[in-house]
Symmetry: C2
Subunit: 496 residues, 2 copies
């Protein structure tokens, strides 16, 4: 047998040969982190697991060795390997292996209030959306039918402002399993997406005297606009190839920081282990809050998942994510796992704002999680999005061979860098006139920086992606030849 | 034929003999107000309409005469009657006919954050809920299936923060038809129930320098708590048998006032025509805002509907209501029709708070409205609730013959007044110990006043209502006999 093991329901059949060790180590690490494999649990013999997975025994042994090096498991002669400790202090080693040119995705960046997209446009690469045509309509309806068949009349009344217990239970298990997030049902707050979580957090922080939340620069424009509604200062912190520059953060005077550690938006950079450590050290030193926006964690194509930061320090990190990139933003369903001391004021504020989220969609999502429908849906979405990622990357190589492309390994979008001196906003405006909507990188920047285009590919078929990128290339090329914008040097500039 | 006319789809079959004139006049008045009968439209001959409705011709003539007296229609010899004007200046005469002991209903008062109700209790008369067992599950699911079968992928994305156009269109027609509310689709803002509307309004008013919103006293405790989150001052304004005391309002210094004109919560009083006039005069004189909470307008049993105040002055009144009393509070779906100048800041704030309401429930409700399902559901609910109203009133007469009962003519609850000197909170606590949850009137008061109990009957079968009232009577009787609380005089005290 090949490719599958009952142990942790591991399925390595689609993992490429060169990535198997990293993949297996990550799976085991997650299982140890989330308690699926508690301290003292015995791992299968390398020989047995290798056969089940269809891997070489050396691959499995190497994965075990890495975990032993990290102090997570212990190999005793003749007695096999057992779990020795849960990860906590040092960040997991897997992040070290990540390329800094990770991915960038749909994000994190909500649509503008005025509806910045033109519905008549031919191809919309501007909206941060998954493939909405894949929304599991039949499964959603089946789940809702089951909910309506079984819900009590009382459940249709005023629900708990923190969210219905059924959903919080499912999420606690799911977040632990899939992201290593440390959460029990009572610690989860259901929100109206990530935006709902951010606006609650901003208000509670403001009420506690925090007047500034630092932001990644570049970072999601939508989040900046939401936070700007509630807070007077949003100091920018530059992002380099290791992620957020924590030295600048320390000088910012901010009481909190919003980060996208697993997959920086929009550059796709992964926050390095050293930076994770200094981020948490910053938080510890000034009682600061780290807001972790894990907006597109579900989409990883060429690399092992990057773990969330929250499990390293659950009382310092407020973790938030949503179904906007896995199901649909129109559901307005997200969650927040805040430090314990913030939970009561957050729930209180949610109550005073609108009493909480609608009950039926919460119960329906709980059922999709409980029955494994969401996981199956995600597997199908990953395959589909990966094919589109491949298509957009090869279209970009074909049409814009000189432009570096960041963030191809994960998520729902890529970032195309333009030569310095080009005006990405003008290019986007001209692309729009040709029926292609695309978001200029400058929209996501606070301080000026290299121009670029954020290309949300997930919602479009490969042929349409090729056509759209062709349009972009023509617009960019014409822009280069314009006298006002002298042609940039042909060599590739460094990443942002 | 009896009881039905194609004209305005009038169905008078369930209208009692003595109430037919008032009923017909109200129907016609509403149709003129909402434009269904525009100026110049011809009314059917009294003889024809009388036959269709199964009414006497004198009844129809009398209704026409009343409208002619109000200047709304004109009778020309030999040419029949035509519509002469839309109501506007003076409040409709129908309000004059209302008994001041109107109804009181489930409200307006959201459940407490901590969940103030005990789920183990036998009978919950405390929660302001309709009969949730009647929630039209099959119809909801059918409508949602149709929505999912026809919605575009784009509709599952980030929706407009003001609400989906499909729902706003349906609501504009429905609110005009059923409540005379002046609203076009672009003037309606979809909210997370009335609480969501109030919190948005409170914040926008605060940002514009309004630090105080006056409240009816007694008034819904839940609304007071929601507004108290955002505003430093909530001056109380007493309610008498004509409704809110507008003279006290004028001295309050408030920049806005929250009122329940059609059916004061919790006393059931109807705001009198004179008070409506002075309410609007107050608003005009100081640029004040009237927030009209029309929380249970759909339930009228023994009297003609009381029209909304909003049509009298749409640029002074922010009208809000929800499906919480017609379908279920768990849907978190409501609407707000604000004066034009407040719309943009309200939508902007909604966007910054959570981007807007979930899309699928909005589209589903739009379909229920478009297909007339909601109206059919409401007819069934009215019948059911009326039977329960009858049951609770006769139980109260039987078990508590000395206690005045207010608000029997409409809504989903009644208010039982207790003799002065009794401690309604203690009585509620003791009833709770006997398995009956009931909200003491003192919880809805700001200044001290006569004690009472708010009895939400809509969710319970007649026999259970009788049993619950029996429990209340025993608890109250024991409380009277306690030495600490001397028995009150047996005569009926005046209304609050």
């Amino acid at each position: 047998m090949t490719g599958g093991s009952d142990f942790l329901q591991l399925d390595g059949s689609r993992v490429r040969r060169g990535e198997r060790t990293t993949w297996l180590a990550a799976r085991l690490r997650n299982a140890i982190a989330d308690g699926t494999l508690p301290v003292g649990a015995r791992l299968p013999a390398t020989r047995v697991l290798a056969v089940e997975l269809g891997f070489s025994r050396g691959t499995v042994s190497e994965a075990y060795r890495r975990l032993a090096d990290e102090g997570l498991i212990e190999a005793r002669a003749g007695a096999g390997s057992t779990v020795a400790a849960r990860p906590g202090g040092p960040p997991p080693a897997v992040a070290r292996a990540e390329p800094s040119r990770g991915i960038t995705t749909p994000t994190g960046s909500p649509v503008e209030p005025a509806g910045g997209t033109d519905r008549a446009a031919v191809i919309d690469l501007a909206a941060g959306l998954p493939d909405l045509a894949s929304f599991p309509r039949a499964a959603w309806l089946r789940a809702e039918r089951a909910v309506l068949a079984t819900a009590s009349a009382r459940q249709l009344g005023y629900g708990p402002p923190q969210g219905v217990p059924e959903l919080r239970e499912q999420l606690a298990a799911w977040l632990g399993r899939s992201r290593g997030v440390v959460a029990t049902p009572d610690r989860i707050v259901i929100t109206s997406g990530v935006s709902g979580a951010l606006s609650l957090l901003a208000q509670v922080l403001r009420d506690r005297g925090v007047d500034a939340v630092a932001l990644e620069d570049p970072g999601a424009e939508g989040n900046r606009t939401v936070l700007g509604q509630w807070l007077p200062r949003l100091p920018p912190v530059p992002v380099d190839e290791h992620g957020l520059d924590t030295a600048v953060l320390s000088r910012s005077g901010a009481g909190a920081v919003l980060v996208t550690p697993a997959h920086q938006y929009p550059t796709g950079v992964v926050l390095s282990p050293a930076r994770r450590r200094s981020l948490l050290a910053w938080a510890a030193s000034r009682d600061g809050l780290v807001i972790e926006d894990d907006y597109d964690a579900e989409y990883r194509y060429d690399r092992a998942p990057v773990r969330a930061v929250q499990p390293l320090s659950p009382q310092t990190v407020a973790y938030t994510a949503s179904v906007s990139k896995t199901l649909a933003p129109g559901l307005r369903l997200g969650w927040l796992v805040p430090p314990d001391h913030l939970r009561a004021p957050l729930v209180r504020l949610r109550w005073a704002s609108d009493l909480g989220s609608p009950v039926l969609p919460q119960l329906t999502l709980a059922r999709l999680l409980a029955e494994g429908v969401l996981e199956r849906h995600l597997r199908a979405m990953r395959t589909r999005h990966r094919a589109r990622r491949d298509a957009v990357v090869s279209a970009l190589r074909r049409w814009l061979p000189d432009c570096p492309v960041l963030g191809v390994a994960a998520g729902l979008h890529v970032l195309v860098l333009l030569p310095n001196g080009q005006d990405d906003a003008e290019i986007a405006a001209r692309a729009r006139a040709h029926g292609v909507l695309v978001r200029p990188l400058s929209r996501h920047r606070i301080a000026p920086g290299r121009p670029g285009l954020v290309v949300n590919y997930a919602g479009h078929h490969p042929e349409r992606l090729d056509a759209a990128v062709g349009v972009l290339a023509r617009v960019i090329d014409r822009s280069r030849r314009r006298p006002a914008a002298p042609r940039a040097a042909p060599r590739r500039p460094p990443p942002p």
